[in-house]
Symmetry: C2
Subunit: 270 residues, 2 copies
Amino acid sequence: VLTNPRSDRVKAVRSLSRRSVRSRTGQFLAEGPQAVREAVRHAAADVRDVYVTAQAQQRHPQIVAAAHAAQLWVHEVTPEVLAAMCDTEAPQGIVAVCRWSGPGLDEALAALPPDAFVCVLTHVRDPGNAGTVIRCADAAGAGGVVLTGASVDPYNGKAVRASAGSLFHLPLALDPGTAEVLDAVHRAGLLVLAADGRGELDLDDAEDAGLLGAPTAWLFGNEAWGLPADVAALADHRVRIPLHGRAESLNLATAAAVCLYASARAHRRG
Amino acid sequence: VLTNPRSDRVKAVRSLSRRSVRSRTGQFLAEGPQAVREAVRHAAADVRDVYVTAQAQQRHPQIVAAAHAAQLWVHEVTPEVLAAMCDTEAPQGIVAVCRWSGPGLDEALAALPPDAFVCVLTHVRDPGNAGTVIRCADAAGAGGVVLTGASVDPYNGKAVRASAGSLFHLPLALDPGTAEVLDAVHRAGLLVLAADGRGELDLDDAEDAGLLGAPTAWLFGNEAWGLPADVAALADHRVRIPLHGRAESLNLATAAAVCLYASARAHRRG
């Protein structure tokens, strides 16, 4: 049982709340039973250590059993040690240190099934938004998520929590060059659709015209200022979600949900 | 120019951050240029006072001109007074004290156009979620939003901000009795569809079957535990959003966006 909240190991885990440390070590922290369960279930090879309190072991026996079955290191810790490791105010007794061995962009694109759609985020700054969009992309059946431009690190604690485990369900690629990413996406044969409130195409019309049935990369911009015109111009079409009331726009996550589910319907109906 | 941040007037405005004061006075605070602009534009009769700093007056001349044109009281205040009135850490120089003279439920239902759809939230606890769903409902063209059960007060500062002005765009009704609300909705001739991850109907199938073209009330439950079975049972159908990947669910706001836009499509296509 680890009992010393001031040990080097505890400090090393705690330091994963800093992006610089995550970048240098290639590791991040998954906090809470949902994230740890999904990590163990779907990405066990990327889990380095599981830390769990006695109480959480009793509350989540299946997670602990699955971690043992996957031959992972499971360490019992005191509540004080767990709190010292964590970013959250109310850690739920279980965390996992994970490696982010995400595929490179080209590798991720090469591995896509022929009728896939993916989600590209550029300059998305809020970790909660990034995590929520990753969760939506997973739910809608997207083949992956690419974060580009000055987007937030999806391995940030808040992003991991907002993704509700979806981070471990689909390929995530990180690549800062938006134009290069869209180039690669085009070379992989995907149609690039930019979600853009000033877009020339209405989403319903795009769906009716059969555009959404193609292998597609949906491009979403910053939560406050959207896509700059020069970036939107790199897409094949700019698509606006129809606004039937008086709202000026949707927020990023709800807009992404509407667009990604439109693609899901089109692909399902094939 | 109001200069005393400790005046009774300032304290009275500040006290609107408390639900009990909002209930007693029937007033709430709209903070920031977007909320104040939409209040002045779409609900001027409900605006009691506008407070604005000299700097914000220069930055938002149209809002101030519109407030004057609507014969509203516009008070210049110092930045210290404005900060003392506000809930937010970074007030943007302009706020409005508004009355919530929302229609009663029966009145709101009677005023619905014949092909409307509405959104009913029960036990939604997070103000950001409530505001975001109100914004989505507005964007999708819903005829109103009803908050029932132990739902958060939509006139809470965070809810007002998350609604991005949509609070002033469509009728909001507050009524704590969920069963009574669903009764009234049924009597008004609306089909009640509960968004429920364990629902017997797939959303795409419901759309294909033409169910969504009816006048509809979408029922959404608590962000963490959804709809209790006895409440879901009061709906005509329980509809699940298809989950194509490995995500267990969507969050409330994105689920609402997908469902409300499905109704918007069905109503648009007639």
